[in-house]
């Protein structure tokens, strides 16, 4: 069973993506329940994988029984298992929600005859795509799953209708450009090495002479993934998407999607191409761009009056933070980056779900319109406060500890870049404090404007404001996890994977050794001996 889990991790949501619409088309009911069961199942698989890799041994899986570099290999190590767990977990929160963007009257009030089973299928596709990216060891397969996740995301966003379609189209253009740049880069690497396998690639590159072609390929890959990861200054698509997409979609996408691309960057630049001069150079550039993103994102977040747009810019800032840590690349830095990925996903997911619920369901999209929220929706107010603390980096919630680790990592990195990153991180906290405490002030201490929805709503009784139950669950659970992540920071940190510093290229392994290692594994069930 242990051996087959990586295959199931991707295959199950893919099967769900086809099964759920099928049930919807044939039976008209049961699709939602099936989708929820499947999401729970995927989460269970991810959890099992995460538990299994805790002993440090990655679980490899040769798709179709063909080992790399001929076939496509999946591998779940601590890093990918963590990302898979995070993705599957966030999907569980988004899954029970209403995926159609009702707020702008999506679909003009028409409902599809298949109910929302199609959208649930697309969400499963998105999940499958992201998990595929996380699990794969093959450069081209990564592209395929990147496109699966992208197409699913465009659909979920455009389902918001109205302005969301424009945002979705612009995202589609940017995303496809990103995909093409990435694929172009992969083409360069393929032409130079003849392999697509991430383990084989460094070996082949060590044999090849470094040159302009390699640098170009690496740079193209980095640009492509940076667009996907919304790294400054390639972030242009992000704010509109986060603002106009339906609540559930925004919450999920904002929490994990850009981070999965950042994960791919880390995998490719930090691990596979680390020994390559061009890879190291690109990482240096990324560090400075990350600093720029942190500052620009934070500054522009302050300028926003719309909560979702503010959060979107905050996400750009957060991606900058993560990329700084990825670019620093030390063990501590990657641990910090992962802690930040987890903390930010939880907090941002919570905040976006709450913001979406308020903007979509109640029309409260501006910061000022949140005035008096605490008196009418106290639970939401508390959750938002916890999330805001985490985003700023105040104790005792998770964000503080990730910020601490990030600061320590950048400080230890030393040099001008390290010092600049250190200062930028501190500045980003201050910027976050400015725009988030503005929200908290409105939520807790301002009274709602006369005649506004919040002013009119009674505080108690059956008429009082309520959010949909799945949203309340999602917001509350994410806030609780954010708090728990802070209170049990040591436990969280312990479970984060140690960044496997790549062995020096060349001495590491050659293909024959790779092959013999596979031969040794031949005894395990399902592993075929190659002739």
């Amino acid at each position: 069973m242990r051996e087959s889990l990586p295959g199931l991790l991707v295959a199950v949501p893919l099967a769900g993506a086809a099964l759920v619409p099928l049930i919807g088309a044939l039976f008209r009911r049961g699709a939602r329940e099936t989708a929820l069961v499947l999401h729970a199942g995927v989460f269970a698989i991810a959890l099992a994988l995460f538990a299994l890799v805790q002993d440090g041994a990655p679980i490899a899986y040769a798709m179709g029984g063909w080992p790399g570099p001929w076939g496509i290999e999946l591998r779940l190590d601590g890093l990918s298992a963590l990302m898979a767990l995070l993705t599957a977990g966030m999907a569980c929160f988004a899954a029970p929600l209403d995926l159609s963007g009702r707020r702008s009257g999506a679909a003009g009030g028409r409902t599809s005859p298949f109910g929302d089973s199609l959208l649930r299928g697309v969400l499963l596709l998105l999940l499958a795509g992201l998990l595929g990216i996380v699990a794969t060891r093959d450069l081209f397969n990564l592209f395929v799953f990147m496109e699966i996740s992208s197409l699913a995301a465009y659909t979920l966003i455009a389902a918001g209708g109205g302005k969301a379609t424009i945002a979705a189209f612009r995202y589609l253009l940017a995303g496809t450009a990103a995909g093409s740049l990435y694929l172009f880069g992969v083409g360069f690497l393929y032409a130079l090495t003849g392999t697509l396998n991430m383990d084989d690639l460094p070996v082949q590159l060590a044999a090849a002479a470094p040159g302009a072609a390699l640098a170009t390929g690496v740079t193209l890959i980095a640009i492509g993934l940076s667009i996907k990861a919304a790294l400054f200054p390639l972030h242009g698509w992000l704010p509109d998407v986060y603002v106009f997409a339906p609540t559930a979609t925004t919450g999920f996408i904002a929490a994990v999607m850009a981070k999965v691309s950042a994960y791919a960057l880390l995998r490719l630049l930090g691990e596979t191409l680390f020994g390559v001069e061009a890879g190291a150079f690109v990482l240096d550039v990324l560090l400075w761009l990350g600093i720029g993103g942190v500052l620009v994102g934070g500054a522009l977040a302050i300028a926003q009056t719309d909560v979702a747009r503010m959060l979107a810019w905050s996400s750009i800032s957060a991606m900058g933070t993560i990329l700084i840590a990825v670019a620093v690349g030390s063990e501590l830095a990657v641990t910090a980056a992962l802690f930040h990925v987890v903390a930010h996903a939880l907090a941002k997911g919570c905040f976006f779900f709450a913001a979406g619920a308020l903007a979509g369901g109640l029309g409260l999209s501006r910061v000022q319109s949140w005035a008096g929220l605490a008196s009418r929706l106290p639970g939401t107010a508390v959750a938002v406060t916890v999330a805001a603390f985490s985003l700023i980096g105040l104790p005792p919630v998770a964000g503080f500890f990730s910020k601490y680790l990030l600061l320590a990592a950048t400080w230890n990195a030393g040099g001008a870049a390290g010092a600049a990153a250190f200062a930028a991180l501190i500045a980003s906290s201050l910027l976050a404090a400015v725009y988030l405490f503005r929200v908290l002030e409105a939520v807790w201490f301002r009274s709602p404007a006369q005649g506004s929805l919040l002013a009119e709503a009674p505080r108690t009784g059956p008429e009082r404001l309520r959010l949909p139950r799945p949203l309340v669950f999602a917001v509350g659970a994410l806030a609780a996890l954010t708090l728990a992540g802070g209170l049990f920071a040591a436990a969280v940190e312990r479970r984060l994977p140690r960044w496997p510093l790549p062995e020096p290229v060349g001495a590491a392994s050659d293909l024959s050794r790779l092959d013999s290692a596979r031969q040794e594994g031949a005894g395990t069930p399902g592993r075929r001996v190659l002739r």
Partner: protein
Amino acid sequence: MTDPVSLRPFAALLPGIVAALPILLCRRRPNLREGVTFLAGAVQLAAAVSMLPATLDGAAVTTPEIALLPGVALQFRADALGLLFLILSSVLWLATSAYSVGYMRSLKYGHQTGYFAAFAVAAASAAGIALAANLVTFLICYEILTVSTWPLVLHLRKPRVLASGRAYLAYTLFAGQLLLGAVVWTAALAPGAGFTPGGFLAGSASDGALRVLFVLFLVGVGAKAAVFPLHGWLPAAMVAPTPVSALLHAVAVVKAGAFGMLRITGWVFGPDLMWALDLALPLALLAGGTILFASLRAMTEDHLKRRLAYSTVSQLSYIVLGGAIGSPLALAGAAFHIAAHGFLKITLFFCAGSVYAATGKDRISQLGGLGRIMPITFAAFAVGALGMAGFPFLPGFLSKWNLGLGGMDSGQHWVAALLATSGALNLAYYFPVLKTAVFEGSPAPRLPYGRTIVRAEELPPRPRLIEPTPWLWAPPVFAAAAALVLGLFPDFGPGFWSLAEAAAASVTDGARDLTALYRGGPSR
């Protein structure tokens, strides 16, 4: 002497945090709710006092380390300085709670449940700051304190109040982030180091780097301690209800900042390193400048609470001054001043609040004649004011005397002159308050020009005493009495002076016997 490891410090930390929940749940039962507050305060005080014997013996009750991250641990330790601050804040939390009951209820303020809950968390985080055994613990409690006092400052929720709240946050969060940076830096220089008497940074980095680090610390902690020019938030925060101001000044926030300055100068850098890096003198001059500037600025304020606020700015710089000089007596004086200023300043704030609660007046020029109809309140005010000025037999004298001696010891003779000037300035801005209240604004009618004979019916009715409810006058009386006792018998009760002395001795190397240096003032 090894430190006894025990969980007892948690008993002093947790009551406030644990109490917040029942306080929130008892929103419909105000008496029960306040009962919870008092119970929590009592437990905290009892836990603090129970650690006293060990600390006076020279050992400090220490908790086991709770790992937060690799190399980052939460740890609490009841050493002399911490315990001094802890006991002080526990006592004053109880007094302020009692006062809050009277104040909030007589003014019929809303949101009292949130108020008491935030108050409890703030008190707990102040306790955490007092007992923090390392910088990270200190920082965490420090940030929680910032956040938990923010709703208190914003309690009245008016636009002007919101603006002040922003100023408060702007200063304290900015400082907090710089402190975070400094803490991370320090952790990189000396991994795993806790507060060490005499400091632990010597030789860990180049002089220049350490100076930059110190500036980070100075801003990080100094903003809360309201050191010039980072004092702007403190007068602005006077828009808060008076018990909150009392909390800010005497129990938690500003005091925590000043306490933090002592920790940084004495337990992180250490006096020797401070002098070696040429940091001590600039810091002392900065503190001295703050003292003079704030005293002068206080004189121009007509708003009573804002005048008190500037007084705090000035007084807390004594503590910074003592930490900067770092000689045994100066440190002892500074540490003792934490307690002295706490009791005195809280008396003054309680009195100001009582006046406001009883008459709605908050400007000095409006106080005319009130001294005669509120004698208890203004008697207490007089004690506080004289103590602030350093009048003998009041605790402020003891701290200033030792500070002055400490300054002389280390060749900084200007300190004594500064203290004298400051005392005079203190009198100059407190005396008018009393003068207005007692002698001016006579209830006697203004006589028509030229007439000297007053008919009986023209006399105003005999002024009625309008002392408010005992909840409002008992706390200032208690605080004033405590200040008197502390002035006369500095070692009475928990032994504040012994604690201050022990703290100073630990920093400046126990070999230098403090009592031998000590040639004036009341003996032990």
